[in-house]
């Protein structure tokens, strides 16, 4: 059973509506303004976040190991993974593009997964709730930018259809990678940052 901070609204039985931000007694069950169900904390927040994070980790493997797109033309065909694409840009001295793709497709997803796992673990005991809440907001903010590589595939597939000269097909990694981004976004949404403050407020049990 969670013990809420004595000055908090939750301790007074007040909940903020997740739909429209109206503060009202949680006992009324449904929001008087927009009709959403009221909760003091997002229901099963940590379990849902864990489940979605594990899903994302599993999807992350095919997203990186399988080809993102297939290029075919009279010079033969070739398949490129995400990292393969980054290396190709680097070799062509297109350093800014290589850095953008590497950051969006490799660094951000990994950092995001690490951040969500850290946040989930911090709901057990948390000594720096303010820093952790900042981490949460950052995680929510940057997640979407990972989708860049999927959009690159979408644009290239549409534009590069030059008959026998050259054509581009989407690879299986593109779906997996889009899945990683969607699932990590859902994981971040289902996490309730107020659990961090509950953990910080919880009296430590002496052994």
């Amino acid at each position: 059973m969670t013990v809420f901070h004595s000055e908090s609204a939750a301790a007074r039985g007040l909940a903020i509506c997740h739909g429209c931000d109206k503060l009202q007694p949680v006992a009324s069950i449904h929001c008087g303004r927009c009709g959403a169900t009221l909760h003091l904390r997002k229901p099963h927040s940590v379990q849902r976040t864990w489940a979605l994070t594990v899903t994302a980790i599993f999807l992350y493997l095919p997203a990186n190991l399988l080809p993102m797109m297939r290029t075919s033309g009279f010079g033969g065909g070739e398949e490129k993974t995400i990292l393969g694409g980054v290396v190709l840009f680097w070799e062509h001295r297109a350093y800014p593009v290589a850095i953008i793709i590497f950051t969006a497709s490799v660094v951000i997803p990994i950092l995001k997964l690490i951040a969500i796992v850290t946040l989930c673990l911090s709901t057990r005991s948390c000594s720096q709730p303010r820093a952790m809440t900042r981490l949460y907001r950052l995680t929510e903010l940057i997640g979407r930018w990972s989708m860049v590589d999927v959009f690159v595939v979408a644009v290239l597939v549409a534009v590069v259809q030059l008959g026998s000269l050259m054509s581009i097909e989407p690879g299986p990694a593109a779906v997996a990678f889009a899945g990683v981004v969607v699932v990590t976004m859902l994981a971040a949404m289902s996490f309730d940052p107020r659990l961090l403050w509950d953990a910080a407020n919880r009296p430590t049990i002496q052994p």
Partner: protein, 186 residues
């Protein structure tokens, strides 16, 4: 919530998040920007987006073909995702804001306005038009070596859409909007 003066904001004492800032004429401004966003959205969808020329052949695509091409090349799920991120979510945002705000500014509400409002805020995280623009720019760098690329009028319409829609959503004072919807209903 008390009225705020120029430059004032409400900050959470616990986590330092900004809860509310002073936004003059928030609803008028947001509605105006949403009308501009709707016009740009029209331009972005019904004019050529990119033209590519290489070796005597050329292809010209409209924005929606980045979705239909994925479908045609055996990735229906990817097509669906891209359609939601660059077409569906912006449509919900623009139509939703106009549906709620235009009557509200004349002191009226249309049926279901509160639900539409929730849809607008719910669809916002899935609206990835600015990420798509970055994707387009990266693709152009990729194509620069092998072909001549011309940007169509839709590309600039899309850029305008990003600016106006982002500004329109940012201009809304959520507390004011919800409060006015609630007082009008009762």
């Amino acid at each position: 919530m008390p009225g705020l003066a120029v430059g004032q904001s409400v900050i959470c004492p616990h986590c330092a998040a900004r809860l509310q800032t002073f936004r003059p004429n928030s609803l008028h401004r947001s509605a105006a920007l949403a009308v501009s966003a709707a016009s740009f959205f029209f331009v972005a969808n019904f004019f050529p987006f990119i033209e590519l020329k290489a070796g005597g052949q050329s292809t010209r695509i409209i924005l929606a073909q980045s979705v239909s091409a994925l479908q045609a090349h055996g990735s229906p799920w990817l097509a669906l995702a891209v359609a939601v991120f660059i077409l569906g979510a912006p449509t919900i945002s623009i139509c939703g804001i106009l549906y709620v705000l235009l009557p509200l500014l004349r002191g009226r509400t249309l049926p279901g306005a509160i639900h539409v409002c929730r849809w607008v805020y719910g669809s916002d995280p899935w609206n990835m038009i600015e990420v798509f623009l970055l994707g387009v720019l990266v693709s152009l760098m990729k194509l620069g070596d092998i072909a001549t690329v011309t940007l169509g009028i839709s590309f600039w319409g899309f850029t305008g859409l990003i600016i106006c829609l982002t500004a329109s959503l940012a201009a809304i004072d959520r507390h004011e909007l919800w409060h006015r919807l609630e007082t009008l209903r009762s």
